[in-house]
């Protein structure tokens, strides 16, 4: 919301020496956020009113003229101009060098310089209204029309800002910061707040005393939704421009002047915050009834929108039907037209939530509805009607009031609250004197009675529409009026109740740090919604997948039950820039099943879990390596993150996985995750071009952190141990786990083979078909003595024999 400081000055006289920065700061700290303070006159720097002495033809251009312009101080300047309405004696706006304009009202601002136009020197520029930002205040009737200021009787050389009354300061207030303060929506409201902040006198708007008491009738059928309706019927008006000062003010705060009748209603709304409306009285048949709409009733609005109404809408009607959508917008039928001579002024109060519903229902929020929906106090109608009538009488001296009616069907009560002063001091953390508290509240219009430890306050009517309703609200008023800057920070004490022990939290962090810092993976974030393409390719069915009612896009309606679709999308996005990478994500996943209520028995929330997923992408086509890299990350995760170990099994193939390369990750008998190679078909459907992708996903909710670190200590070997590599030929489908079990299983006590680890496997040249060579590293040693090389060799040969017997392996000939 924009506010004019000179307009505020109508209601509170701001001391001359008041620093405006301080005013903006104080308002921001105590009341509403002042986003900007604009010295309006600066827009018109280096612009003056000039008088055209002579208009001459341009020697080199038909459409241009050379004007001799008096710009004051005895200076006559040549200015080249293409305006079509130039005439001698005309007062015009002259932008002198240094002024900032927009060519034809469009594009970037340009600084005016002395220049030559088609060979003729030109001093500055004679401006059209939109070139100096005044298009809305002085609309041009045709192209290339110069702003004619002849109506402003000022001498040549007067600064434009002064001539047009632009020497003003515009405060821009953040609307969000005053949603809870309906009393501030208007110049009067802000003036009242400033008066309270600085203890300044506030001007009253004297109430309207109607001369006539006629039988003008207004009927209200629903007093809950229309608490007050003032109607004033007048004759002797006409459609003409409003006085310049009114237009100027309306324009300065961002609205567009239209004609005097409409401008008065807008001006009063901007001044008091209470919307008003003027009907053409000749189009109102019989008397006005305010009632809920009938289902299916139709209304064409001022903006030509044709509505089919419902019972939840409130309408202003005459005997023929709806003429306006109450609190939102007037109808087309009764609007002010060029020949309007009689009007009915409506100053009313409507219930906030109904107005909001209606405005939203028809997507038709207006200046009026956005004010009503904040809950305005009905007392303000009196102020608004008084101010309206002041201007009607001023602008139309011949005006006659032919009817008046004030239907005040529901007068609200002022909020009354008891505040315990001990409680107040405790919450404020400061013991303010009763006098200070009383003074601060009284400045805001509260009535205060103090009786020992109890303070009884009565809020002013303009704060009683919900804004002030309990003692905490009163505390806030005292604190902000005293100034938040004046409260020192107070420390809070810790009651020590033992160390914080959150193993689940630690585990999750350990895993993420393990993946990032030990495994070299990059953490990514993706959205919770999944694109249909990836849902179809990766998940392949949507059973138990939840959907959004209003998704960000039609193809983003499913929310994730797995992290893998979005990880695949991330792989696709990064494939453009990288040939190999590994990424992971930790996030919540959702399932349309197992609804439960953990906190409130009436609630029913779906199953939600935390998952960790990862993708290893490589263009190297070495699946074994990619597989072992992925498996290694998972295999060593429990060891490095201090959780219970899981095992790999082959039980259920993930739908997205390659037929051979996949594993289930199990904790005991429970499958808690999976890993595998992204199947070729899925990869293609995802749009992955060249990368092989290995995926994994774990249900982190099921991982079990160890209570403490469980590293095991074994005594260091007393006698040397030796590594001894053997390479053997196995059947091509022999599994390493079986080989390992064959070597290490059922070991006799005193066995010299301490360990057997996989080194590598090889198929290809020199290896017979159907076979593979596996190299095993044996650790051989004794607890009793240092072994001789013969003893070591014997132990290794034992292993070879054993593997030959159990698995048909034979030593590979070198």
């Amino acid at each position: 919301m924009k506010l004019s400081l000179s307009w505020i000055g109508d209601y509170v006289s701001i001391p001359e020496n008041m620093d405006l920065k301080k005013l903006a700061y104080d308002l921001t700290m105590s009341t509403v956020e002042v986003e900007d303070v604009e010295y309006l006159a600066r827009r018109f720097d280096n612009m003056v009113v000039g008088v055209i002495e002579k208009v001459e033809a341009h020697p080199n251009a038909d459409k241009l003229r050379v004007c001799k312009v008096d710009i004051g101080g005895g200076e006559i300047k040549d200015i080249v101009c293409g305006g079509i309405n130039l005439r001698e004696g005309m007062r015009v706006a002259v932008s002198c060098p240094g002024a900032v304009v927009r060519w034809h009202g469009e594009g970037e601002p340009v600084v005016i310089k002395n220049s030559k136009l088609r060979g003729v020197e030109s001093f500055g520029m004679i401006c059209a209204s939109d070139e100096i930002g005044l298009g809305d205040l002085f609309p041009a009737s045709q192209e290339a029309e110069i702003l004619d200021l002849s109506a402003f009787a000022v001498p040549a050389g007067t600064s434009l800002a002064e001539a047009l009354d632009m020497d003003d300061v515009i405060l821009e207030i953040d609307n969000k910061s005053m949603t809870n303060r309906p009393d501030l929506w208007g110049h009067y409201g802000i003036a009242r707040e400033i008066a309270a902040l600085y203890d300044l006198p506030l001007a009253e708007i004297s109430p309207y005393e109607p001369e006539v008491q006629s039988d003008f009738k207004v009927e209200i059928t629903d007093p809950d939704r229309c608490t007050r309706y003032i109607g004033v019927e007048m004759s002797g008006v006409e459609v003409k421009p409003a006085p310049y000062q009114m237009q100027n003010r309306i324009w300065k705060v961002g609205m567009r002047p239209i004609n005097a009748l409409v401008d008065i209603t807008n001006y009063v709304m901007l001044a008091t915050g209470n919307p008003t409306h003027a009907f053409d009285a000749d189009h109102i048949t019989d008397h006005i009834v305010v009632r809920p709409a009938l289902r299916g009733e139709r209304l064409r609005l001022l903006n030509e929108k044709e509505l089919e109404l419902c019972e939840d809408d409130l309408v202003i009607t005459d005997s023929e039907g709806p003429v306006a959508l109450a609190g939102v917008m007037g109808g087309a039928k009764d609007s002010i037209l060029p020949h309007t001579e009689r009007v009915i002024l409506e100053v009313a109060n409507f219930e906030s939530t109904g107005i909001r519903r209606t405005a939203l229902r028809y997507d038709n929020r207006t200046e009026a509805s956005s004010r009503y929906e904040k809950a305005i106090d009905p007392e303000r109608c009196g102020q608004a009607v008084a101010l309206s009538m002041q201007y009607f009488h001023k602008i139309y001296p011949e005006l006659k009031v032919t009817g008046f009616c004030d239907r005040y069907v529901k007068k609200p009560e002022r909020a009354e609250i008891d505040v315990n002063l001990t409680w107040l001091a405790k919450r404020l953390g400061k013991d303010l004197s009763n006098d200070v508290i009383r003074k601060k509240l009284e400045l805001l219009g509260f009535d205060v009675e103090i009786d020992n430890d109890n303070m009884h306050v009565t809020a002013p009517s303009w704060r009683s529409t919900g804004d002030i309703s309990m003692k905490d609200d009163v505390m806030e008023e005292v604190a902000r009026m005293y100034g938040y800057d004046h409260f020192e920070a107070t420390e809070f004490t810790t009651a020590f109740t033992g160390a914080i022990n959150q193993k689940d939290q630690d585990l999750l962090r350990n895993i993420k740090e393990y993946l990032a810092f030990r495994c070299g993976m990059q953490e990514v974030y993706t959205y919770p919604w999944m694109s249909d393409v990836y849902v179809k390719a990766v998940l392949q069915n949507t059973e138990n997948v939840l959907k959004l009612a209003t998704p960000p896009a039609p193809d983003l309606s499913y929310i994730r039950s797995s992290l893998l679709p979005n990880l695949c999308e991330a792989v696709v996005k990064n494939e453009r820039y990288f040939t190999g990478f590994s990424i992971f994500e930790e996030a919540q996943v959702f399932f349309d099943r197992n609804y439960s209520a953990l906190y409130d028995e009436t609630e029913s929330l779906p199953e939600q879990r935390k998952h960790i997923g990862g993708a290893f992408a490589s263009s190297e086509k070495n699946i074994t390596e990619l597989f072992r890299e992925t498996k290694g990350v998972l295999e060593y995760m429990p060891r490095f993150t201090h959780m219970e170990s899981f095992v790999f099994k082959k039980e259920t193939k993930p739908v997205w996985a390659d037929d051979v390369v996949w594993l289930n990750i199990c904790l005991g008998d429970e499958i808690i995750g999976e890993m595998g190679l992204l199947a070729k078909k899925v990869s293609m459907e995802c749009g992955i071009k060249n990368l092989s992708v290995m995926l994994f996903e774990l249900d982190a909710t099921r991982l079990k952190p160890l209570k403490s670190r469980t590293n095991k200590f074994t005594h260091l070997a007393e006698y040397p141990e030796t590594d001894y590599d053997i390479s053997l030929l196995f059947q091509s489908d022999a599994r390493w786990t079986d080989i390992h079990d064959a070597v290490m299983g059922k070991k006799k006590a005193g066995s010299l083979v301490k360990d057997a680890v996989f080194v590598d496997e090889y198929r290809g040249k020199q290896i017979p078909a159907g076979k593979k060579s596996v190299t095993i590293r044996l650790t051989i040693g004794s607890d009793e003595k240092t072994l001789t090389s013969q003893e070591i060799e014997n132990a290794a040969n034992q292993v070879v024999k054993k593997l030959g017997k159990l698995m048909g392996a034979e030593l590979r000939m070198q």
Partner: protein, 345 residues
């Protein structure tokens, strides 16, 4: 001859100790004990001596030869240990190899930084589910029934759960505060916890607006806390994030779930509070809302608001990371774009 031997020996000692390389040493060796070496030549003169001198001189010569050998071997070892393992043209300016190139998301990093800070002050870390009911998203937070945030143009409701009473309607949480009520319901006061998480708003995205973003809520509730205690909390957060003491101010702000409510501003870190384009020339930047939990919120959590009060702040992590690093587009955080993410270590 004796003098000759002594002369040769002192000469050879000087040459050995002066030798700077293996090849020089080799030259010394052949010059003294090689076939044509000085000592070998003397040896050849032995038969010319008188017989009674021969044995003594022979012994002396052999001793001298052995001594020279020893000295050369010693020097050779010394040169060997002194020498570099590589050629002198080894380039020490080639870059190192990065250990593990992975990293955490910058928002995770920020979150962990804050977790560490708050844990050191005795706060617990709390996490809750993303899907919640309207009852917890709005009712329990004192949002009026007709509040605009409840509408589908602001909140992501779930299909099939988007009508009915507020305990039946489900949505992706629009903020974390509803979850804080859950914490309070299930724990005994006093409370001291932080609650990081992703929240969702149905809105049009641009460089400064996102549909999914991160909040970090911190809450203390106790019997004798004033809103001024909040200043300590806020300062701790910001000094941790920016590494220096940051000036903050609290000013009047309105949120349904707090009373009184504050907007909390910090001094602009770009211009130091003088005013610049980043802070719209006011010298302050809005960083978080805060305030004392509204009595109705405390009631919803089962507490007596006459007895308990507290202080709450809710920090936008995305915004804080953007300010910390000068990131100018909030959408990058959910882009999964490694070119962006790899910049944060």
């Amino acid at each position: 001859m004796k003098e000759k031997i002594t002369g040769i020996l002192s000469d050879v000692k000087a040459k050995i100790s002066g030798a700077a390389s293996e090849s020089e040493l080799q030259n010394v060796k052949s010059a003294f004990i090689g076939k044509q070496g000085a000592l070998s030549l003397l040896m050849k003169e032995l038969p010319n001596l008188v017989p009674e001198l021969r044995p003594e001189m022979g012994t002396l010569l052999n001793q001298a030869k052995n001594q020279v050998k020893e000295l050369i071997d010693e020097k050779r070892m010394e040169l060997k240990l002194k020498a570099s393992e590589v050629l002198p043209d080894f380039d020490c300016s080639v870059p190192g190899i990065m250990p593990a190139p992975g990293g955490l998301h910058p928002i995770t990093q920020m979150c962990y930084d804050l977790n560490d800070t708050f844990r050191s002050m005795g706060f617990e870390i709390f996490q809750e589910d993303d899907i919640t009911s309207e009852m917890y998203a709005f009712d329990k937070l004192n949002f009026p029934q007709n509040h605009p945030a409840r509408e589908s143009m602001d909140t992501y409701w779930l299909e099939g759960h988007d009508s009915g009473s507020t305990n039946e309607k489900l949505c992706l949480r629009p903020h974390l505060t509803g979850g804080s009520v859950r914490y309070m319901q299930t724990h005994k006061p006093p409370y001291r916890f932080v609650y990081p998480g992703r929240v969702y708003r149905n809105e049009t995205t641009d460089a400064h607006h996102e549909r999914a973003f991160f909040q970090y809520e911190a809450l203390i509730v106790d019997k004798d806390i004033t809103f001024t205690s909040g200043k300590v909390m806020i300062k701790s957060i910001l000094s941790k994030v920016f590494g220096t003491d940051v000036a903050v101010r609290m000013r009047s702000g309105f949120f349904p779930f707090v009373e009184p409510g504050f907007e909390i501003d910090m001094e602009c870190q770009v211009c130091g509070g003088k005013g610049c384009s980043v802070c719209k020339h006011v010298g302050w930047i809005e960083v978080m809302p805060g305030g004392s939990p509204h009595p109705n919120v405390l009631r919803a959590a089962g507490l007596d608001p006459d007895e308990y009060t507290g202080f709450y702040v809710n920090i936008g992590l995305d915004r804080l990371v953007m300010m910390r690093y000068g990131v100018d587009d909030v959408r990058l955080f959910h882009s999964a774009d490694l070119r962006f993410l790899k910049q944060f270590r």
